[in-house]
């Protein structure tokens, strides 16, 4: 459906190079663009050497947490006599994020290749790609790519004629945001309700089917391909900022902005230039008011913070937020922040798996209060209650969905308290929008 934009001259297209190139979707097209050379190279290396290259490159998880990928892979102990598994987390559901969708739609073979490399590196013979059920088009292309790769002997019993077994299977989810949480994803894949598991044990010890498992995001696995082809140094040098954030990162940009879409820039790129130049700035006659740089789970930034941010793991933290999944949501002056935050809370209330009390009760209660304030029925005590609930919801549950709901509430009240105040003093949602506009 939606076609990607022409890359902006300040983008560095490593992973997104073939977006919009329909031929790159087929095996023949992928191979003629250098596809599966990295896998061939990998299969001739010792798994530990692959892990070392990835470690050396500084690649960090692109799904949200930013854990060093090479280190994660090194937790998988070779020769422990147990089957190992690789899970690819393609349950992209963090509102604002749609980069993995583009990767799978345009370069499905890249993900097959990345999964095969990752599986081999961690001593796994089987990789499962868990794709959210709503992603019908990515599912179609991934299934096609896997079928083609099996038929060509690239994966299977005798991957690329090396005698090594690497199976890659696509598994379709069925609608649940929480299945993007790694242990919930494993439960779901096993045929259970998608409830997150208590950690420890961590997946590397007891993951999918109780066996040592590594779980990586789509973008992370695909990034291993250029790293193996061009070397760790090449990757490390693609950073404008600090040695802890290396390479390129995909950002999906949405909300009230001139050119929404998926962009790829090097780590440390100035966020101000990104928003105003690369993505075209605000819509005509409007002004940016706030940005959520990494999906709705990360703290909301004011424009002062956003404009001072460098786009990497440390840069966003230094300006009161997080890189997260790279889902940039831009909010302009025609929006009520209270309404935006209330809608975010409603999302989390809908997606809570309801295992933990703080989350089950907290997300729903938070939503109720925020919607009351939005509708002009709030009281000043409501703000205290919200902050109190948020505290109870933070750091006390099995997974971080609860924390993720509290985060925008706390940052929203702190940074945009004036808008809450205006509504509580008896003014309505519409009158605030008019006043701000």
């Amino acid at each position: 459906m939606g076609y990607p934009h022409q890359p902006h001259q300040r983008e560095t297209t490593v992973l997104s190079r073939y977006f919009g190139d329909a031929e790159a979707r087929t095996l023949a097209g992928w191979k003629s663009r250098g596809g599966y050379q990295a896998l061939e190279k990998a299969l001739a290396m010792a798994p530990a050497d692959i892990v070392n290259v990835v470690k050396e490159s500084g690649l960090r998880g692109r799904g949200g947490a930013g854990f060093p990928t090479g280190m994660k892979w090194s937790f998988m102990k070779p020769g422990d006599g147990k089957p190992h598994y690789l899970c690819c987390n393609a349950d992209e559901s963090e509102p604002g994020t749609f980069k993995d969708r583009e990767l799978m739609r345009w370069t499905p073979h890249a993900l097959v290749e990345g999964c095969a490399i990752g599986a081999y590196a961690i001593g796994a013979e089987t990789a499962y790609i868990y794709i959210r059920g709503e992603f019908t088009e990515p599912l179609y292309w991934m299934n096609e790519a896997v079928k083609e790769a099996y038929a060509a002997g690239i994966i299977g019993k005798n991957a690329m004629g090396t005698g090594k077994r690497i199976d890659v299977h696509v598994h379709k989810g069925a609608g649940a945001y929480i299945c993007g949480e790694e242990t919930a994803l494993m439960n779901s894949l096993e045929g259970r309700r998608g409830n997150p598991r208590i950690k420890p044990p961590f997946p590397a010890v007891s993951g999918l089917f109780g066996m040592p498992t590594t779980i990586n995001n789509v973008e992370t696995l695909i990034a291993a391909i250029p790293i193996l082809m061009n070397g760790a140094d090449w990757y490390k040098k693609m950073s404008l900022s600090n040695p802890k954030s290396t390479g390129t990162k995909l950002y999906s940009v949405c909300g009230n902005i001139e050119r929404p879409g998926t962009y790829e820039v090097v780590m440390g790129f100035p966020f101000r230039d990104f928003l105003y130049d690369v993505c075209g700035g605000p819509l005509p006659g409007r002004k940016f008011k706030a940005v959520i740089p990494g999906g709705v789970s990360v703290p909301i930034q004011t424009m002062e913070e956003a404009e001072a941010s460098l786009m990497d793991y440390e840069g966003f933290v230094a300006q009161g937020s997080m890189l997260g999944s790279g889902g940039v949501i831009v909010i302009d002056d025609a929006q009520s922040m209270v309404a935006v935050i209330a809608r975010i809370a409603r999302f989390f209330a809908h997606e809570s798996c309801a295992q933990c009390t703080q989350c089950r009760e907290g997300t729903a209660w938070t939503t109720k209060i925020l919607e009351r304030i939005r509708d002009g029925q709030g009281t000043t005590e409501d703000l205290d209650t919200l902050l109190d609930i948020a505290e109870q919801m933070t750091g006390k549950t099995i997974c971080v969905l609860s924390d993720s709901c509290a985060t925008p509430v706390v940052s929203g009240i702190k940074k945009f308290g004036r808008e809450f105040g205006e509504l509580i003093q008896g003014r309505t949602y519409v009158s605030v929008i008019e006043a701000v506009a």
Binding site: G2, T97, R132, H171, G191, S252, R343
Partner: protein
């Protein structure tokens, strides 16, 4: 004398409790069927049979349009689970229909990023033009069911609408009549 039935409370004709009145359940995975073949290929992908549960339920929904209790019981039997367990799993996920839906199942994303781009008005336009009246209700002719969905993962193409298996992107309220006209 038996008092006359209060308006609207009499049992409709279809509300029969006589199970023999229903057509007997036809299995989805009957021997030799395409569905059975698919399931037989799926099971060895996993070290445990139970892992084929979500894929098996997807096959049931594809074949029947929804996942009935009988469908759940059939899957349970094939995967050596209990019907109650399967129901527990089905109810966790939003995409399995536990009752029949319209021929065109329309999901409008109204989560925050689309919400600030006018998604609520798109949802309202679908409700108005399909005559379904309310979210989740199927139109009288059985053609349409409209629901709001949480984040379809296509936020850059606000507002995305999923109609059965197809994504329609960058939908605005004025495009709705034209989109619906294509659905026969």
């Amino acid at each position: 004398m038996i008092p006359p039935a209060v308006g609207g409370l009499e049992s409709p004709d279809y509300a029969s409790h006589d199970h023999t009145a229903h057509a007997p359940y036809q299995p989805v995975f009957s021997a030799g069927s395409v569905a059975r073949k698919e399931l037989d290929e799926l099971i060895p992908r996993y070290p445990q049979k139970m892992a084929a549960l979500l894929p098996a339920l997807w096959i049931v929904q594809r074949e029947r349009g929804w996942v009935s209790n009988e469908g759940m019981a059939e899957v349970a039997g094939l995967l050596e689970l209990t019907p109650a367990y399967v129901k527990g799993v089905v109810t966790f996920y939003t995409m399995y229909h536990q009752h029949p839906v319209g021929k065109y199942f329309i999901q409008v994303c109204t989560t925050s990023p689309c919400g600030i781009c006018g998604a609520d008005d798109v949802a309202k336009a679908f409700l108005r033009h399909t005559n379904t009246g309310d979210l989740g209700v199927t139109s009288a002719d059985g053609k349409f069911t409209v629901i709001e969905v949480e984040c379809l993962g296509a936020c850059g193409f606000a507002t995305p609408v999923m109609i059965n298996e197809e994504f329609v992107e960058s939908v605005t309220p004025d495009k709705v009549p034209e989109i619906l006209a294509r659905l026969k």
